[in-house]
């Protein structure tokens, strides 16, 4: 136990003193600060140069009706529908109207050609131009009003019928996927990045000890199980610290800038993550991390040279990437309770991501969660002890990377 503590301290220091580790963490925090403060900075500049961005002071909409009696009602309705514009009725010829739009005298122009048709003139049609949609509605209403009054209704009656609003409310009894999607997405992605990154670091760490022959002394001084657990737990804590730094600062910066984000659905949904889900995240992160880091460590011990690491870890990396893709695809499709996902949420190598996704985006019975976590904990210990054994055999093997069968045989004999 004392030995474990010594190894753990030594390894943790390795991460915390590592310039790349510190650099990446600081960079991520700064990046998040940049994103989170963006609306505040934006608002600051906006308030300084407010004039040109709001069209209220004079952006003109020209309106030419096809008959004089319609011009007045249409102008009134258009003014109401475009409150930020200055709607002007005109009798000018088409050329003059077009000219006014081109020169910028008017922002745009509506030329009504009948009760149910019009031409919209605008100089540069913006991607987000919604004016025709508004105009459509106005004219539709005008047409219906006219039709109703002609059929003998009073204006008031017609107005009432047209003004009817449907009220609706949605109450999600389980989980709201639309709301959970974004933070699940971010969490899964963070899980993926951290496990892959730190897993590789554990493998490299072990392999470099082996290639520098520091292993020759280490293996005679410390128990392989202490070595393995010390390394893996230290790197897990380093990974967690990094996550906490990144997400903690994100949360802090969000709090500082909450007012400026208004009701941005994505951002709000991310930071409204329930605590229980955060705890599940932590559980699956730690267990998934251990499982993969042990494997990476064992693989690192079988490589003689650092260059061999990349090819050696390929199978484990692939396994992890595949489970990531399965989860991402089912998340995107919206159905996270497929048979595949259910199966994946119990297989230890895929369950950290699959079960977490199901918990976040669907309603999973508690006994399934307990079973999944139980299997995972069991596998972590099994894989931990097995990889410590592989480690003990692997670190003393030099030369070509041995085949899996040969290692397992050696482990059984050792």
């Amino acid at each position: 136990m004392k030995q474990f503590g010594t190894i753990f301290n030594f390894e943790l220091k390795y991460y915390l003193k590592n310039k790349v580790f510190i650099g990446v963490t600081v960079f991520l925090v700064l990046l998040i600060a940049g994103v989170m403060f963006f609306p505040r900075v934006w608002a600051f500049f906006q308030s300084e140069e407010e004039a040109p961005t709001t069209p209220a002071d004079g952006a003109v909409i020209l309106l030419k009706a096809d008959s004089a009696e319609k011009a007045e009602t249409a102008a009134a309705l258009f003014s109401a529908a475009f409150p930020e514009y200055n709607v002007q009725s005109t009798e000018d010829a088409l050329d003059a109207i077009q000219n006014a739009v081109v020169t910028g005298e008017a922002e745009c122009a509506f030329v009504l050609t009948s009760d149910t048709s019009y031409t919209y003139y605008v100089n540069n049609l913006s991607l987000y131009d919604m004016n025709t949609a508004v105009a459509d509605e106005v004219l539709q209403q005008l047409y219906r009003m006219n039709a109703m009054t002609e059929a003998g209704m009073t204006m008031e009656e017609a107005g009432e019928i047209l003004a009817v609003q449907i009220e609706s409310q949605t109450e999600s009894l389980g989980v709201n996927q639309a709301q959970n999607y974004w933070y699940t997405y971010i969490m899964i992605f963070a899980l993926y990045m951290v496990i892959l990154l730190y897993g590789q670091m554990v493998a490299t760490n072990v392999a470099s000890e082996k290639s520098s022959r520091a292993m020759e002394v280490l293996i005679t001084s410390a128990r392989p199980v202490s070595m393995m657990f010390g390394k893996v737990i230290a790197s897990c804590l380093a990974g967690l610290l990094q996550l906490v730094a990144v997400f903690g600062s994100a949360f802090l910066f969000f709090r500082l800038n909450r007012d400026f984000w208004g009701d941005n659905i994505i951002i709000n949904s991310i930071f409204d993550m329930p605590l229980s889900l955060l705890l599940f995240m932590l559980t699956f992160f730690v267990l998934g991390f251990f499982l993969y880091a042990f494997l990476f460590g064992a693989i690192g011990s079988t490589a003689s040279k650092l260059e061999d690491i990349n090819t050696s870890v390929m199978p484990v990396t692939m396994l992890f990437i595949i489970s990531f893709i399965v989860v991402m695809v089912s998340m995107a499709s919206g159905s996270v309770d497929t048979v595949l996902m259910k199966a994946c949420s119990f297989i230890p190598f895929t369950s950290p991501m699959a079960m977490f996704t199901r918990i976040a985006m669907s309603t999973v019975p508690w006994h399934e969660i307990a079973l999944s976590i139980g299997i995972l904990i069991g596998s972590v210990f099994g894989v931990g002890v097995l990889s410590a054994k592989i480690y003990r055999v692997g670190v003393l093997l030099y030369g070509t990377t041995p085949k899996i069968g040969a290692i397992l045989k050696a482990v059984r004999n050792a």
Binding site: K2, E209, S212, V217, S221, A406, A414
Partner: protein
């Protein structure tokens, strides 16, 4: 304290590495474990240190199975290497603490050894800034800092200049004088001859020769004479095929039996102008070649 390996057996897969290896090393004396590459020295050492278990046989201290919690072992591996990018004090402290020392006493012991090996100025430097010989001295500290009962030195002199080799010799002699079991493994026979009281020669996983070095030498049949002279031609002519010229210029005379020794010596002294005449005693090198030479296992390690 007496360290004893008894009938150690070990195979890796199909390959038999050690067959019935037994030897005995005493405290206060140095023991030389010799053998060609691949003879099983490193495997024996690893079993002795408990890195992996033997398939059969036992490792005993004073007749009882070794308890690694009580018996401290210091090891200087043949394949040298520590953490190249880390501060020397940090890594030495780490290794000492892995051996069970508290931080304070570890730092104290390390400072003592840095001073003793004239390395104090490198205390807070990174290992890879040091020359190869100095890195070796640092590695030696990992083997000695925790004051082990058994010190295992695998090729300790390789890569050291004569001054550092002298320093190391002094350190080793001090350790022996302190009653420790010092186990040498080396191909440099002159060093083994200088330090070791007893040896074991491994050949293809078996002990080919084991015992007190002086006794081994005494037990050789004393039927050869070494003659040092400046006028070798008449002697060569006199003794014919029984006399051969050695590389260093001396003559080696093979006698019919050991009993002729006195008579032939007398004859030589009377007839010829000699600088020296003595009974031939085999060097450790000769013994090694004789016992370890006929193995074809050179390339297997």
């Amino acid at each position: 304290m007496v360290l004893e390996l008894r009938s150690i057996e070990k195979s890796f897969g199909e390959k038999r590495v050690l067959t019935g290896v037994s030897f005995r090393a005493e405290g206060g004396k140095a023991f030389g474990l010799l053998g060609r590459n691949g003879a099983g020295k490193t495997t024996s050492i690893r079993i002795l240190m408990g890195v992996f278990p033997a398939d059969g046989g036992e490792v005993l201290i004073d007749g009882k199975p070794i308890d690694y919690k009580k018996i401290q072992i210091g090891y200087l591996p043949e394949e040298r290497g520590l953490y190249p990018k880390k501060i020397i004090l940090d890594q030495l402290t780490y290794f000492a603490r892995l051996k069970g020392m508290e931080k304070k006493e570890a730092v104290k012991a390390i400072d003592f050894w840095l001073e003793r090996l004239e390395m104090t100025e490198y205390r807070n430097k990174r290992l890879d800034t040091l020359s190869k010989g100095n890195q070796q001295k640092i590695q030696l500290i990992t083997a000695l800092a925790h004051d082990p009962d058994i010190v295992i030195l695998d090729e300790p002199f390789s890569g050291l200049d004569p001054v550092n080799a002298m320093l190391l010799k002094d350190v080793v002699k001090e350790e022996i004088a302190r009653g420790k079991i010092v186990l040498f493994s080396s191909h440099q026979m002159s060093y083994i001859e200088e330090f070791c009281d007893s040896i074991a020669i491994l050949n293809a996983g078996k002990v080919a020769l084991h015992g007190d070095l002086h006794e081994i030498k005494r037990n050789y049949v004393r039927d050869r004479l070494v003659v040092r002279t400046e006028f070798s031609a008449p002697i060569l002519a006199d003794f014919g095929t029984a006399c051969t010229k050695l590389e260093n210029g001396s003559l080696l005379i093979q006698l019919g039996n050991a009993g002729e020794k006195k008579e032939v010596m007398k004859r030589l002294v009377e007839r010829y102008e000699l600088d020296e005449v003595k009974v031939f005693e085999p060097s450790l090198n000769d013994i090694f070649v004789e016992y370890a030479g006929d193995s074809a296992e050179e390339d297997k390690k």
